[in-house]
Point group: C2
Chain length 694, copies 2
């Protein structure tokens, strides 16, 4: 355990700048929470107008304390923060938590101020949590250094989950919701604006923390993707699952999260891709964040996804079946071997997909026999056990058979949903490390997240072809109007046959030799972004005679509409046919970094939001996985009697595109569409564009 | 209040057949619950082996009681139920609740037995609740006539919601979950298999019940759609909202619900359409069923859907924004007038879509001022108020401004989401009739359901053209192989030009006069359902010469492949082009009755599940609404610069198809596709089929 970690989570002394003696004031809460939960170290309230604050001797300044201070808590108006940090530096405090707001989250001026504060802290060797942090909690050390009202609870439940939250108030929400059902935390940290200490570094401390088994993240943005990814990979290797709930899943939400946090707005899909790629489990419901850890601790991403569901209540079982199905989770009924095994133990079940024991199954003996048989059976990969009314007033009767069975099969994934209000049973299950859920919706979210969990993607050893970087060097030919074709060629992506003609209404005959018809003719100009609007495109040109007419028409129309534009020539492209049109794109996301995007081509991608994103570069396996996720490509994957498309060639094109990740100059690239031909006949890129970073 | 309602919900005497004195047994619970919750009427345990059961004198038989019995509760093995009902009839009991199972829910034999039991009850004038009913509760009368373990709670919370549940155990789950947060019920009824008393009739009693303000339904199926619809319409007129949570939303769930209840499996979408059409509010999360009533009571379906969101916690507010957006709810930021109004009251808010007051807004004064201004503002149709940590330990402070504001604007829709664990605040809000939510997901579900709420569809005065019924009479020409064309013509749906030719390889020239090319040629045979597989289709025929070749080819191929088939002729159809292909279908659903289906044509409907369903017939307004719901038709509704399609003509075709509801002979009909041409140019049906009931 590092000295910093000690000063943060187990300080021997704490100074509070901005301590209030008025218990009606929010600013009195930090000091009250500290003593209330049994902090035994020294507390030094700093208050120039009082000699005592809430029973502790007060000091006019940090300097006046005259003893070493491990951790300083700052709760003063924005414009007084700089002075407080200067004082921290002067007395060589190890770390400071700044609750005050008005920094990066409030706009550009605040961001400037935040950077100045950070410079002072760094120069003085003071590590900073916040600003805009509501503080932190370490239950093992009885440290509740936070003004969050959730800490006004009489007791602080300890537990083995560490929470890192970018939202201060949601830290309190999760603390209180966990408390009510027996789920406690080892440490809770509000990282605020992450000027210095961020999710990555706090996460590293939790990996090293012997009190922490799982790391929970409440995220509004990702400010340092590299640090987050490195932490998540280390946590994965250390066997400590990292679970994230991310705000901003909707477009509007993402916009708000970005303005609320003062961070850059990345694409939500890109952020999710980043989290998944580094082995983080992503949940979509808030409560699932608290409920899922026992399903992950001690486990690795599961090889299969078949769930068996058992219940004593048809209604509750049906609810789980509906919620699982909506999340795309496969539910398997009992196989003959299982039915036989149970029959030998005098339990008769039908072959129905839902194993409904009815009221007779509330007998703990029966319930236990069936649950054990399911856990033992290789026909499923996970068991969901539903418990009815008995869970409310007879937790022992309802929960004991589950505890027994899970103890005998600890390695087998198990989730439990209790239909009634049943905090005692939930607490009992939590205490024994069994994933238990208050709602069927949350249970399904957890099982989905568990199945989506993957090992961190191994860093790629490959690189982009040297030619690509050369083409895209400043002033390189790849940056010209026709340059995208050169880059895609260098990446090895097949393209339509194209011939460049001089900008003449009557091109010479030898220039037309070898052209394969029908063709499309397009104007080539560095000044024209939207060729169709400029009259610069003619499609379906059938022969050389028509081609000459098309050249003349384009030059005339463009000359009329855009007399200013420099015309470099005309491009003649063979028109191709395929089984499907696919969008393949690359984007350097401002938060998540290099990403590759695959979707159905044309307007359908937008209408059905049928796209998928991964961090780039991708392997062939991941490229194939992406193709499998696009619903609109069902046709080329083998749907009914429709002919299969060349999925492998498409995956190669995706992989090739993803190698732009090695060329920092590229901001965005897109081919829309890539035409997919029949299996074995390859793909062909029709129209592509590359945008370089300014 | 009817005599039956009295006997059910406020009996002066209750006999229990199958009463157990063993408190370890489930069968002892009914009698214990009755006395525990203060039932003051007579209880007559019927038990031939004891003179006393749990402190009450026992009787060897119903007959032996010698006094009138209002309500009999039967909890005996399946094969003893018939005897018990015979006894009920003999002593002229008003009603009987049968807990015993093994009837329709267990399979065809059980269904036969259930019908026999019902016959005996009917003959004896005994009304029957169940079988497979867990009983009922009437809090006002202190009547807890149920073996559900949720009733083992020390107290029974009264309230103003009546619950009718097809699942016995989920009745207990809802009771206990409501109880924990101060939501009580007037009456709870488990209708079991609904052999006699069903959801419709019990619902009617709740409409007449002065203690009930809202009717909540937990449904696994719909056994009597007419009774349910009539009840829901009456409830709507009486101003008592009906809310339904329906199991079986997934395909697998629907299959299970059907086998679990012994009822016919209808399509889930058709059932939802039925519920909506009769004014029922459909929620998708279990807890929303408990939480939504205050949003509906005293209200009518809202005219607009713009939601304003205010919060003191950015994290909690962001969560609501994400959940609302995912449900397609429009969120509106404050308008200048509102910002000005608030500035005049010394509250400064930004124009950000989410009104985030931050910690400063936890001041009740500020919170109240903003909430009132939002409720007063016409720029939004609903206000969502998010409350942070203060809701946990200072309910008065957090909740009071909400109570005050809502009292001043009682008619304005308001929902509240509390981020921390805060039962006291939830109870306080419930007590004052304010819709408060434990999760942001549930809050969004409720707002979505509220916006989807519609007044019951008025019964249609129209009918199908007489010609349609005549065509489809037994043996009528509409039932022949080529009959679908005749029926669609009679309905007034435009179709491709079609010419029927004799089954000759070389048709006479005059038969080909007037054909508009290109055409498709198809074989006409009552024996061939899949024409393409039989070699009976040639597309893209350009002229009379090609047409002769196509006729010869078809006759040869069909003769080879299906030598047994009777060939009535060949149909020549002009091939048409359009902007979009649409599926328009009709289906007599086994549960929901006549329905009309609209979706994107081709395989996309299936891949993207892009279809919508309504009960038939539909008005033009509803047909247009259906078109608006199909995402894949965005193109023809005016997307980007794409040409608009003839949406009105498509709606007319949908309406025409829906009139098949007046022709009971039709089981199913489908046109796939209807081609939609440019606005003003109409639609045209390409390929249709009609299936009559056997």
């Amino acid at each position: 355990v590092s000295a910093l970690s000690n000063a943060l989570f187990a300080p021997t002394s704490i100074a509070i700048i901005g301590a209030s003696a008025d218990t009606n004031k929010h600013s009195s809460l930090v000091q009250r929470h500290l003593r209330q939960h049994g902090y035994t170290g020294a507390i030094y309230p700093v208050n120039a107008r009082r000699s005592e604050v809430l029973g502790e001797p007060a000091f006019p300044s940090l300097r006046a304390i005259g003893k070493p201070v491990d951790h300083v808590f700052v709760n003063v108006p924005t414009d007084a923060v700089m002075g407080a940090i200067e004082d921290c530096a002067e007395v060589r405090a190890s770390c400071v938590t700044v609750l005050s707001n008005g920094f990066a989250e409030s706009g550009p001026d605040g961001a400037v101020l935040q950077n100045r504060v950070l410079d002072v802290a760094r120069a003085g060797g003071v590590r900073l949590l916040g600003p805009n942090s509501i503080g932190l909690v370490n239950t093992a050390a009885h440290l509740a250094l936070s003004s969050n009202e959730a800490l006004s609870a009489p007791t602080l439940l300890s537990g083995r989950y560490g929470l890192v939250s970018q939202s201060g108030s949601m830290l309190g929400a999760l603390l209180s919701r966990g408390h009510a059902r027996g789920i406690g935390f080892s440490k809770l940290v509000s990282v605020g604006n992450e000027a210095d200490l961020g999710v990555g570094e706090i996460g590293e401390m939790l990996i090293n923390d012997p009190d922490t088994d799982a790391i929970l993240l409440f995220l509004e943005t990702v400010r340092d993707p590299a640090a987050l990814a490195a932490m998540a990979r280390r946590a994965y290797d250390a066997g400590k699952p990292v679970v994230a709930f991310r705000l901003g899943r909707s477009e509007l939400g993402a916009k708000l999260a970005s303005s609320h946090t003062g961070a850059l707005a990345g694409s939500g899909a890109a952020l999710d891709a980043l989290l998944r790629a580094c082995g983080i489990v992503c949940v979509h419901q808030l409560e699932t964040l608290l409920e899922i850890p026992p399903l992950l601790i001690g486990r690795r991403p599961p090889p299969g996804g078949r769930a068996a569901v058992m219940t004593t209540t048809g209604g509750g079982g049906g609810l789980v079946v509906d919620c699982f199905s909506e999340q795309g989770i496969e539910i398997v009924g009992p196989n003959p071997a299982l039915i036989e095994t149970l029959a030998a133990r005098d339990v008769k079940i039908s072959s129905s997909t839902l194993i409904d024991l009815t009221l007779a199954g509330t007998n703990p003996q029966t319930y236990g026999v069936v649950l054990e048989a399911l856990l033992a059976s290789p026909h499923c990969d996970l068991v969901a056990a539903v418990v009815g009314s008995s869970a409310q007033f007879r937790p022992d009767r309802a929960v004991q058979p589950i505890l027994d069975a899970s103890q005998r099969w600890p390695e087998r994934p198990l989730v439990v949903y209790l239909t009634p209000q049943a905090e005692q049973s939930l607490a009992l299950l939590a205490q024994h490390g069994i994933a238990a859920f208050r709602t069927a919706e949350g249970c399904a979210d957890a099982v989905r997240a568990f199945h989506d969990w993957q090992a961190p993607v191994a860093p790629s050893g490959e690189r982009a072809p040297d030619a690509v970087a050369a083409l895209l060097a400043p002033g390189g030919p790849g940056r010209a109007a026709a340059g995208a074709r050169l880059v895609f060629a260098a990446l090895g992506i097949p393209q339509t046959q194209a011939t460049q003609l001089p900008p003449l209404a009557d091109p010479p005959a030898d220039a037309l030799a070898g052209i394969r018809y029908p063709v499309a003719v397009k104007v080539l100009s560095p000044d024209i972004a939207h060729k169709t609007e400029a009259g610069g495109v003619v499609l379906g040109v059938a022969d050389a005679h028509e081609l000459r007419a098309a050249c003349a028409l384009i030059l005339q129309r463009v000359g009329d509409r855009r007399p200013d534009a420099r015309i470099e020539g005309l491009v003649v492209e063979t028109m191709e046919r395929g089984l499907a049109e696919v969008l393949v794109g690359y984007r350097l996301d401002p938060c998540a970094g290099p990403t590759v995007v695959v979707g159905v081509g044309g307007v359908l991608a937008e209408i059905y939001r049928d796209v998928t994103v991964r961090t780039a570069p991708v392997s062939m396996a991941v490229a194939l996985e992406m193709i499998a996720e696009i619903r609109g490509l069902a046709a080329i994957r083998g749907f009914r009697d429709l002919p299969r498309g060349d999925v492998d060639a498409l995956a190669q094109a995706i992989q090739a595109m993803s190698r732009l990740a090695f060329v920092p100059a590229v901001a965005e690239a897109e081919i829309n569409p890539v035409l997919v031909r029949a299996a074995g006949e390859g793909v062909i890129a029709l129209d592509g564009v590359i945008v370089c970073t300014p």
